[in-house]
Subunit: 319 residues, 2 copies
DNA sequence: TTGTAGGCGTTATCAA
DNA sequence: TTGATAACGCCTACAA
């Protein structure tokens, strides 16, 4: 493996000049620059990242905090981040937390110990105060509305999305609308719940605690919803499922409960995952791949920024 | 950030001694070792990985080649690899290839250029000859039967699995058995097809080209299978779907084609993913998470090794 | 058993 | 516009 000195020798210049060319700095005569570039090609020189990093005091590593990787929601996000990272020569360190605070904290500690340059938090349980206290050690980017913080973030207006979907169901004649959620504590979940409450108030509809199905994440949970609903005297005519997986679960097990989709029960999913396309589920499209790219850009950017990404309702056949 | 010299000073020894303690090498008096350990704690010293790597000429990075990340099959594998990697202080570099040979080659080149220490190839298109030619630059581990190579690998005996599943269907009275596959070229796919042919011959059953459904990967593809089958004069009574996703697709769209599962059509999936549990799909369980851990161990091991992992048929309600 | 000193491959300061 | 040289933090002959 050729090093910078070999290149310098081959080009008949000093290592400083080579370094200048490498980092496109000014003060290099054109002919010397050409000579260096030629030498780089001839020697097959590749900079030693460890040496560069050691010198510059950075790692070129970006941490990614997420609860699980085997959910399309997160793996799509990671695909986007990973793609952007590879373009910029960054590597990823995945922290699968399972929503355990100590695991999330561990990732933050890595930032403090300079084991990683920045941290992207895709979903979290730990409090924002704690997260913010680590900001001094490196860039931290959130995938949520971090309004009350001084951190960079990219977010989707879940409040608006939810209102949009509710309005759509309302237009289709639905007055008894339920929804599922995973963890009620999350920022996104709170926005959705608030939208739900506000919408009901606006339309003069009653609020029914039982219509909120908690801890819903997977296909199994979709079935659980129907099971629970079977015990109700009066049941919702439409469900806003937070996630296409849950929507799919509702739909696949609907026949078991003698429910026709959408006649007896309308369903809207979230994320527009392959399963939604396959099963023709009406859903709210969230462009996770592009969001991943945005999150990466923010993670390596010098300045704090906030980006909002919009989501579209995709009409298919479950409403 | 304290460095090794600060620790040495605090402990009243030389940096060499500290380094020895750090790397648990012999020739350090107990009391000095204790002093060093105390100093490490007090100063909050953390080794600078870049310096260590620079000195040792390695990166502590493991490349992972896979076509997609947003399929549970691969994301589960990555979860296992990632978990093992974090324990051993290794970081991952994901190469999402989409089965493009040039992307796979890029990952191999990274190995050659010492940008990564080892490479785990979860699935590939590029020829084994080419892969093998990069072995000199670092450990390469395959997730397939690499019998004809000198590489490390972990594999599942897909031939045996397939025979087992076919036998199970046969016992349940099925004589017209079809199967789906993704890419026929893959090592695993070839084993499966061979098992299929051998099984038919063994049982004296006719081979029907049309019963092999190619390019099947997702839920959508499951529906496509039923659509195709609708055009057959005689159709299979059972399908071995390579992947629970495909099985799920078959099942969810079966009612559309007036097919009852399992009475009219039996289905066996692969991988035992959440969707299989949710929909009670009979499947062949492949322990991807543990396999990921094995692959990592092989990636950092000094010596070439081969491991076989067995898969179990899980009886549920689609046969 | 311990310590000194040189070098891994870069970048950056400073003098020329 | 160039180049010599001192770091960055660590490991490891080699000497003691």
């Amino acid at each position: 493996m050729a090093n910078i000195r070999d290149v310098a020798k081959a080009a008949g210049v000093s290592v400083t000049t080579v370094s200048r060319v490498l980092n496109n700095q000014p003060y290099v005569k054109e002919e010397k620059e050409a000579a260096v570039k030629k030498a780089i090609k001839e020697t097959g020189y590749i900079p030693n990242i460890n040496a560069v990093n050691l010198k510059k005091g950075k790692t070129n590593l970006i941490g990614v905090v997420l609860p699980f990787l085997d959910q399309p929601y997160f793996s799509n996000l990671v695909q986007g981040i990973s793609q952007a990272a590879s373009v910029h020569q960054y590597k990823l360190v995945l922290y699968q937390t399972g929503y355990h605070e100590h695991q999330e904290k561990e990732a933050l500690e890595m930032l403090k110990l300079k084991q990683i340059d920045s941290l992207i938090i895709c979903s979290r349980k730990i409090s924002l105060d704690i997260v913010e206290s680590y900001q001094q050690y490196g860039n931290i980017v959130l995938f949520e509305d971090g309004e009350q913080t001084s951190l960079s973030y990219t977010f989707i207006d879940h409040y608006a999305c939810f209102i949009k979907a509710l309005e759509y169901l309302y237009e289709h004649g639905h007055r008894e609308i339920g929804f599922s959620i995973n963890r009620l504590e999350g920022t996104n979940s709170r926005q959705r719940e608030q939208a739900y409450r506000d919408f009901l108030k606006l339309k003069g509809l009653p609020y029914n605690e039982k219509y909120i199905f908690k801890k819903c994440l997977n296909i199994e949970d979709g079935e659980r919803i129907l099971k629970e609903m079977g015990t109700f005297q009066k049941r919702p005519t439409a469900i806003l499922a937070t996630g296409d997986q849950v929507a799919a679960g509702i739909i696949t097990s609907s026949s078991k409960y003698q429910l026709k989709i959408p006649e007896d029960l309308a369903v809207i999913g979230f994320d527009d995952q392959p399963i939604a396309r396959a099963m023709s589920i009406t859903t709210v499209d969230i462009p996770l791949y592009s969001i991943g790219q945005l999150l990466f850009e923010q993670a390596v950017s010098e300045k704090v920024s906030h980006k909002e990404v919009s989501a579209e309702l995709i009409e298919r056949s479950t409403v």
